[in-house]
């Protein structure tokens, strides 16, 4: 959908007219990321990360397709072909480092994108479906990243595969058969490596499909904005092009500066040296941790050290880890406050900055630390707060909180006054 004042696409020459009749692709682009898409005029740089996530998805697919031209998913040679890429293939080192660091940057921008969603409650009506698709994309990303990390067949690859498939071994009764089925064996080997490669190649395209749905769903209500007040009139909006193509382009330039610094100067800083040792099923590395982007969830997994009621600790940890993400699926219905932006929600803001964010940071640090005190206790406290925040605090806060007064419109928030508000025209409640 679009707003009534959205500019309409008008094909100017014969070719454009022909295309517009037979396959209106230029019209689609014009209405999606061109001048035909009116966007709130007050978007901050926090609204850059969706485009950046899209960029890194494309980067991962391009570099990944290149790497797949030179890699062989066979336990005998996988490690050697990875080194072949690094040493023999023209620019292979660049492709591999860009792909490995690209995964990290994909997660960085997606985490910031999710953070934006949390603070500004982008998940609230009418944007629930965008949020649900986003959480689905995040889950797919985690699966894809995990399987990609197995492919170089180093020590961390092998033991990561063993530990993560071991999670499924925690399922009562059928756990072990499921784990054996997932691996196609009793430990990670050729069968597991091959299916991980196949799925690692497939899932990014599934993600791309979900991204298209995500954007489609976004274009129905249009983008949210830092005030959380919906668009009321044309003066609240700017055409996406050139205003936000330029703003996103600038953001992309900044992101690429950070990305290229990592690729060229610190290419292994986010990896583990142990993964340059070939997989050895007979020896586990002393300190085994997943990639940094899994740390908070890994900490939740390890926070459960004692059996809880009749549930064994192992199963409890697995359930909690999955629940930590699945709880996001019901977030639009947990947070019932009609005000979207955290900017106008004093109580929400306190729990957000002094509760959720510190808990996430503690979980992040503990997930990367060895499984010993004080990290275990800290992650237990943080895990408890994490679930308390979503399941108890958010619903209560949204009931008892007295929000601060909202601006009448985006225009008023930006300019200090809105002629229509003064005239009483279009006088709907400012939500």
């Amino acid at each position: 959908m679009s707003f009534p004042w959205a500019k309409e696409y008008t094909p100017t020459n014969g070719v454009a007219k022909f295309l517009d009749e037979k396959l209106p692709l230029p019209r689609l682009v014009y209405n999606a990321v061109g001048a035909g898409y009116p966007v709130p005029r007050n978007l901050s740089y926090f609204w850059n990360f969706g485009v950046l996530a899209g960029f890194f998805l494309v980067l991962q697919i391009v570099t990944g397709v290149v790497l797949a031209m030179h890699y062989a998913a066979n336990a005998q040679v996988a490690f050697a072909t990875t080194e072949h890429i690094m040493r023999d293939v023209n620019w292979g080192w660049l492709m591999r480092y860009a792909h490995a660091n690209g995964a990290s940057f994909f997660f960085i921008v997606v985490y910031l994108h999710i953070f934006r969603g949390f603070y500004y409650s982008s998940y609230k009506a009418p944007r629930e479906m965008i949020w649900l698709l986003g959480v689905t994309i995040f889950l797919l990303m985690m699966a894809t990243a995990f399987m990609g990390y197995v492919l170089p067949w180093g020590q961390m690859s092998f033991w990561g595969a063993k530990v993560i498939t071991g999670l499924f071994g925690a399922i009562p009764l059928v756990g072990e058969p499921i784990q054996v089925w997932l691996l196609g064996g009793y430990a990670p080997d050729n069968a597991a490596l091959n299916r991980f490669f196949s799925l690692h190649f497939l899932l990014p395209f599934v993600i791309a499909g979900c991204v298209i749905l995500h954007i489609w769903a976004l274009h129905i209500p249009g983008s949210s904005n830092p005030t959380g007040v919906e668009i009321k009139s044309e003066s609240d909006t700017l055409p996406f092009h050139p205003y936000y193509t330029v703003k996103d382009g600038f953001g992309l330039g900044v992101a690429l500066l950070f990305f290229m610094t990592m690729v060229f100067f610190l290419p292994n800083a986010l990896g583990h040296p142990d993964n340059y040792i070939e997989a050895n099923p007979l020896s586990t590395p002393a300190h085994i941790v997943p990639e940094w982007y899994f740390w908070p969830f890994y900490a939740i997994l390890r926070a459960f050290t004692a059996d809880f009621l009749f549930i064994p600790a192992k199963l409890m940890g697995v359930l909690a880890m999955f629940a930590a993400i699945l709880v996001w699926f019901i977030l639009p219905w947990l947070d019932k406050s009609p005000v979207r932006s955290g900017h106008y929600r004093p109580l929400f803001r306190k729990f957000f900055w002094f509760g959720l964010i510190p808990a996430m940071i503690v979980l992040f640090i503990c997930g990367g630390a060895p499984a010993e005190e004080p990290y275990v206790m800290l992650s237990q406290i943080a895990t408890a707060y994490y679930f308390l925040h979503f399941l108890v605090i958010l619903p209560i806060v949204s009931q008892v909180e007295q929000p601060e007064p909202l601006p009448y419109s985006i225009t008023e928030a930006v300019l200090g006054s809105d002629k229509k508000a003064v005239l009483g025209e279009n006088a709907t409640p400012a939500v």
Partner: protein, 195 residues
Amino acid sequence: MADTAATAIPDTAGPETAGETGDGVRRRDFLDIAAVSAAGIGGLAVLYPLISQMAPSKDVLAASTTEVDVSAIQPGQAIKAVFRKQPLFVRRLTPAEVEAANATPAGTLRDPQSLAERTKEGHEDMLVTMGVCTHLGCVPLGAAEGEVKGEFGGYFCPCHGSHYDTAGRIRKGPAPTNLEVPEYEFTSDTVIRVG
């Protein structure tokens, strides 16, 4: 593209002349062109490694010379070696074959070359060619014992019927040029290094 803004949103964008320099050039147009050019050049620069990665890798290039010991080849015999993953024919011609090749006037051939041009000085009886038909890349017959040598006593390609003579020159059939003589040199009287 920038001037669409001023008409759409009168209360933010300045007048059309905002940022205009004395000679009527708008700064925004300059920034526009500079930014898009930089992005375009950057995009082209990214294409280079993406294309280059498909070229032969260093390990393939490192295996691109082959040494062949030719001492055991008797007159009238040929051996097949492998050069860059393709067959290489090394053949010691009999005096009669050398004579037959020299008796053919080079000027009348499809790809005019004399035997001397296709061999090394002092080794006119040693014919080193690729075993790859210049038509569509099949391996011609005639190098191994008992194979058909074609109407001109050299090589015969069974795929589409190209006949090569004792100097490996195309004489009949669809192939456009003579069998390729790769770059090679005698490192001693009995050893050649190809590539």
